[in-house]
Symmetry: C4
Subunit: 358 residues, 4 copies
C-alpha cells in the first residue's frame, strides 16, 4: 500500500515523534488513517499522551549510579529491557516485509514481540524469523474450534504467551478510517484466519453475541499451558476478576484510544490496578509511550513492562526493519538515560518514593 | 435561503461534526448565523460541548452483553431510543422542505419530534407527515386566547405533549446574527402564528411585561390534558417549583447557549436537578449532544432522554430529509456501540456506579 | 494622530469587541500601542478578561420580572445605570474632538465621566460640554501647590468627586509602547498641567521620591469637601486603610494591567475588598468589563458601579462621539438584558445568593 | 559560527523576549539549536517560564517607598543586585568575542559572572577582563588530578567561588541539537580542558562510571578554601545532604530544562528547598528568569539571588558585549520597577507575607 518501500534511516529522525511525522508523509492516506486513527474525536488518544507529559519526575543527585541495568523476567523468560512491541494488525500496510521485518528487528533489539491475530503474515512464518520472546495476541473466533486451533498453532510455533484482547468485542467509531474510506488493499489479509469461519458481516447484534465473557477466558486458560495475559483491563474490579480467572498477567490498555472515546488515559488508571493486584501477577500497560521518561513513569507507577504500538509501524513505514530497530533503540537509549539521570541502577530502584511528583 | 437544495449524503459525512462543517459551507451566511450562532461570545455554547468531552467513561469488560436495548417510555408512549429532535425555528432556512422534511425523517428513524412554535410549516401540515411521537414547543403569545388556540390546535393535530419554553422571555445578545444582519427572507415566516397578535416591536420593557411566570405555567397545565414539559430549567429550586406547578417533565436546557452567555453547561447542572427530582417526573436535557458517548453520559447522570437541535438542521441543510435521517442514525448507532462497549444491555443499566469518572 | 476622523457607526459593530478590532485597524500604530498596551507580557490584562469569562451565571426562571431598573446613587447624585467612563489619558490620540467628544457622548447616555488629569483638553473646557455626573482623576503633582490648584479648579468647574490614583507612582514596563517608540505627537499634551512644575525626567529614584503616601491622601481629603475616591486599591488591608484615611470610595483596579504584570485580575480581588468594607463606602471596580454580563457579575460580587476605559477610546477612534455613545449604549443594553434574563428587577436584586456559580 | 558579528542594539529590543527572537534570527541554526534547545520535548523548559507567569503579585500601595535598594552580600562579597550570569558553554558560538565580551559586559553592570568549565576562552583570559564577582563552574574531570588542577587555576585567577554542577553526569536527550546535527565548529573548543584527559567517547556505561558522588563533593570541598556551591539540587533531602557535605550554597536548577524532560519547574521546587535550608546557606535559583517580576518572585519565595543563562548569550549574539550589558540593564531596571511598585525598599522587604498569591 506504500508506493515504495523505504529502507534507510532518514536524517533528522532522532525521536519517535519524528518517525510519526515522517510516517504521516510516507504512508498512503488510507493506511495512515487505519494505523494512526483513534475512535471518534481521538480524545482518549490525546489524553494517553498528555497523562505522561503532565506527570513530573523529581530526580535525586550524586547517587553515583553505575550504568543502568534494565533486565527483568516475565513468565520465566529473561528480557533485557521492559519495552515490548504491542500487537498491531496488518504490518504490510506499512511495508512489504510486514511482520517479518518487524519481528526480525525486534529480535535484533532483544525486544518482546506480541504478534496480532490479524497479522498479514502467518504466525508460523513470523516465528521463523522472530526471537524467543514472542507472544501471540488472540481474538476469539466465531467458532471455538477455530480459536483452539489458533492456540495450538501458537504453542507449536513456540509462542510463549497468549494475549487475549478483552476490550474490543466490536469496533469503535473510527471516523478517521471511515472518512478515508479505508479497506484492506488487495493482497493484504488476516493471514492466520484464512481457514476459519468469518465474522458475520451483519449488525451490532450478531457481533455482540460473539463478545467474549469471563467464561471464555476461563475456557482458554483451561485449554493451554501457556500463560494467558488479558489485554484491555481498566477497572480494578476487572483486574481482580482477572486474577480469579487464572490470568497470568494483565495489560492496562484502552486499545490506543481506538475503541470508546473519552475512556481515561491508561497511565491514570494504572495505579489503581497495580494497587489492586499487589504483585500477584505482572501488570503491563500500553497507550501513549513515546519517550524513555514515559517508560520510567509507567514503571514508577508499578508497571512490570510497557508495550509500544503505533511507533513500531511508523518505524516500519519510514525505514523498514531498520526503522523498527531504530525506534526500539531510540526508546531504549532514552530509557537508560532516564534511569541514569534519576539515579536508578535497576528496575527495582524505580518505583521508590518521591520520584513521581504530581 | 439556500441557493439549491441538497439531497444526497456527501462522502466523508461520518459524524455530526462533519455535518456541521458541511452545513457551514452550504448554508447562506445569514441562515448559518441564525441557526448556528449563540449568545455574545458563545462561551456557554462552547462549554456545552466541553462538558461532555471532559467527562470520562470507565468501561467494564467481558460482561457478555447481548445487543443493547435502548427502549424507553415517556408519557405512556414507547420510544425505541432516547434521542429526540429539539425545537428549532424556521427549518425552511435550511431546506425548502422545511419541517416537513425533518418530520418525515424523524418518523423514519422512530425519533421523537418537538416542533417549534416558530416552525416555517404549520403544525397541522407537519402532523400529517410526522410519526406518532410528536410534541409541540410553546411560546406564550401576547394574548392568552391565542396561546390557548395554539394548545387546542396541538391537541387536535395529535401532538402528545407540550414543551413550554421558560428561559427566553427576550432574545439574548446574538452578535453573530446581528453581525450578519439576519432577517427572515421573504416567504419564510412563523406559519403557526399568522393569525395571532404580534409581539410588540418596542423595547425591552414591553417584552418583559409579557415574560411568562409560574402563574402562566399553572394556567396552561390547567387548560389541557396533555403533559406539559418545562424547557429551560437549570436551578434545582426551579425544578422543585416545576413539580409543584404540575409539570409532567423538565428539560434541563440553556437554549443551546443562545440566551445569556456564561450560563453553565447543561451537563454540569443535570445531576443537581436529577437529584432534586428523585424520579418524580422525567428529566430530559439538551445542549451539546454530538456523540453517542454524549447520550450515554447524559443518561448515566440521570437524564431520561436527550434532545438534539442544531445537528438536525445541519443534516437538513446538507442533504435534506436524508441528511436528517443520517444524522439520527449516526447518533443512534454511536449510542448503541457505546452501550455495547460499556456493557450496558438496557438503559436501566447505564446509570450504575463507576461508569462516569471525573 | 489618526489620519482622518471617523464619525459613522460601521456596519458590524455590534459589541465592544468589534470596536476594539476596528480601532486596532484605524488608530495609528503608535496611538494603538499607547492606548491598548499593557505592562510587559500583558498577562494581567488578559487575566482581567478571563476572570469574567470563567465566572458562571445561574439564572432563575419564571419570576415575571418587569423591565430592569438599573438606577443607583453615588455621593448624593442619582445615576441611571452603574457604568462610568474610566479616566484615560489623551483622548485626542483617538479623535480630534478628544475629551470634548467623549464628554458630550457620556452626557447623552447619562453616564458618569471620570476625566483624566492627563486629558488633552482642559478640565474647564470639558466641564462646559459634560453632564453633571463628572469626576476628576488626580495624579499628585511634584509641587503640593500645583496639586491644590488642580483641586480648586475641579471644584470651580463643578466636578463632583476626585479620583486619586494610588497605584502608579511610576510607569510600568510598557513594552508595547516602547517597541512602537510612542511619543506624544505635536499638538497633544497634558492640557491641565501646562502651568505646573514638570515631573523630573531623571531616574527611578527621583520619581519614587514623589510617590504618594497615606499622608498625602489624608492631606488632600482635608483640603476639599469633594468626596475623594482612591483608585488602585487591591488588598483588603489597604481597603481598610482607605476607610481610615477618610476616603469616600474605593476603585478596585490594576490600572488596566498597565503597571505591574501578573497582578491578579480585579474581579478576583473584588470580593475580599467588598467583604472588608462591609458597605461603609462604595466599592467600584474596573478592568476587563466588555459585556453586560460582566457588569452584572461585578455587581453580584458587591461592586457599587463599574468603570470602562479602553472601549471608550476605541469607540471614539472608530466613530467619534457617536462611537462613544454607541459603546455605552451597547453595554447598557446588554446589562439590561442580563438583568432581565436573570430575573433581577433592580440593582439591589443582583447580589443575591446562587446567581454566581464558580 | 555567526556569519557576522553584531555590535549595535537593535531598535525594538526592549525586553529579554525581544533578544530571544532576534537571536533566533541571527544565530546559525546549529548554534541556535545548541544554545536554545532543551531536552526531548522541552516541556520542563516551557514549565520553567509558565511557573513564573502563573504566580501572582499582590502589591500594597501608598507606602512611599524611596528608590529600591537591591544590594546584597554573597560569600563576603557585596553585590549591587541579585542577578548573576549563569554558566553557559562556548560563548564564541554566539559572538567572536566569546566569554571575553560577556565578562566585560558583566563587569560593567556589576553583575556576578559564573564562567563555565566549557568556556571557549580560558578562565585566565576571562579573569583578566572580568570584574571581581567571578565564580567558576566546575565539571568533574575524568582524572582527579585534572579536576584539582582546574581548582588551583581558578584560585590563582581570582575566582571567588566554585559552582559544582551535580545534575548532568550525562547529557540529556537533546533532540533539537541532534536534529540540527550540531557539532562544535573548527576553532571553538573547551579552552580550559585542552591539556586534560578527555571524556571517554564510549557509551553510557563509561560515562556513568564517572558520575560525581557525594564523596567527590566532599573531596573537592576539602581541597579548597573557596566556597563550593552545588548547582542542580532539586529535592529537599538533597539540599540537606548538601549542607552536611559542607557546601557553601545551593543553586536550585534543572539545567535550563536540558537534562531530563518533565522535571518540575525550579520555581515550584524552590520553596521546599528554602524551607529545608532555613537560612543556613544561601539558596540561589535559575531557570526561566526573563522579567524583573520573575526576579522579585524568586526572591519572595526565598532565593538569595538568581542566575540568567540563555538571555545572556542571546544578548551576545544580537549585539555583542553591548547586547549583554543591555540584557542585564533591562532585567535590572525591570526588577527595580517591580520593587518600587510593590513597595519593597530593600531585598529584605521582599519575602513578606501576601506579596505572592497563588
Amino acid at each position: 500500500m506504500t508506493d515504495q518501500s523505504h529502507n534507510e534511516i532518514p536524517a533528522g529522525a532522532v525521536s519517535l515523534a519524528d518517525y510519526e511525522r515522517l510516517a504521516s508523509e510516507r504512508l498512503h492516506p488510507k493506511a495512515w488513517a487505519f494505523l494512526s486513527g483513534g475512535a471518534a474525536d481521538e480524545i482518549t488518544m490525546r489524553w494517553n499522551r498528555e497523562a505522561f507529559d503532565r506527570l513530573q519526575l523529581l530526580p535525586r543527585v550524586l547517587r553515583g549510579a553505575a550504568s543502568a541495568d534494565s533486565r527483568l523476567e516475565l513468565f520465566g523468560r529473561a528480557f533485557s529491557h521492559p519495552i515490548l512491541l504491542a500487537p498491531v494488525a496488518y504490518h504490510r500496510l506499512a511495508h512489504p516485509h510486514g511482520e517479518l521485518g518487524t519481528a526480525a528487528a525486534a529480535a535484533a533489539q532483544e525486544a518482546g514481540l506480541v504478534l496480532s491475530t490479524l497479522s498479514s503474515e502467518t504466525l508460523e512464518d513470523v516465528a521463523a524469523v522472530a526471537g524467543p520472546r514472542r507472544w501471540l495476541q488472540l481474538y476469539l473466533q466465531p467458532q471455538r474450534a477455530d480459536t483452539l486451533d489458533l492456540v495450538r498453532r501458537a504453542e507449536a510455533a513456540g509462542y510463549e504467551a497468549l494475549v487475549l484482547t478483552v476490550d474490543a468485542p466490536i469496533n469503535g467509531v473510527r471516523d478517521h478510517e471511515r472518512r478515508a474510506a479505508f479497506a484492506l488493499p488487495t493482497g493484504i489479509a488476516a493471514a492466520n484466519l484464512a481457514r476459519y469461519a468469518q465474522l458475520p458481516s451483519g449488525g451490532l447484534e450478531q457481533l455482540m453475541a460473539l463478545a467474549p465473557t469471563w467464561e471464555d477466558v476461563e475456557w482458554i486458560i483451561g485449554e493451554t499451558k501457556l500463560p494467558v495475559v488479558l489485554k484491555g483491563i481498566l477497572h480494578s474490579d476487572d483486574a481482580e476478576l482477572a486474577v480469579a480467572s487464572g490470568a497470568a498477567g494483565i495489560i492496562v490498555s484502552n486499545h490506543g484510544g481506538r475503541t470508546l472515546d473519552t475512556i481515561p488515559p491508561t497511565l491514570d488508571l494504572l495505579p489503581s490496578v497495580v494497587s489492586q493486584i499487589e504483585g500477584r501477577i505482572p501488570v503491563l500497560m500500553d497507550g501513549g509511550i513515546r519517550r524513555g521518561t514515559d517508560v520510567l513513569k509507567a514503571m514508577a507507577l508499578g508497571a512490570s513492562a510497557v508495550l509500544v504500538g503505533r511507533p513500531i509501524v511508523y518505524g516500519l513505514a519510514v525505514a523498514g526493519p531498520l526503522g523498527v530497530a531504530h525506534v526500539l533503540r531510540l526508546l531504549g537509549d532514552e530509557f537508560a538515560i532516564a534511569m541514569a539521570l534519576t539515579g536508578c541502577a535497576t528496575l527495582a530502584d524505580i518505583p521508590r518514593a518521591n520520584l513521581i511528583r504530581r
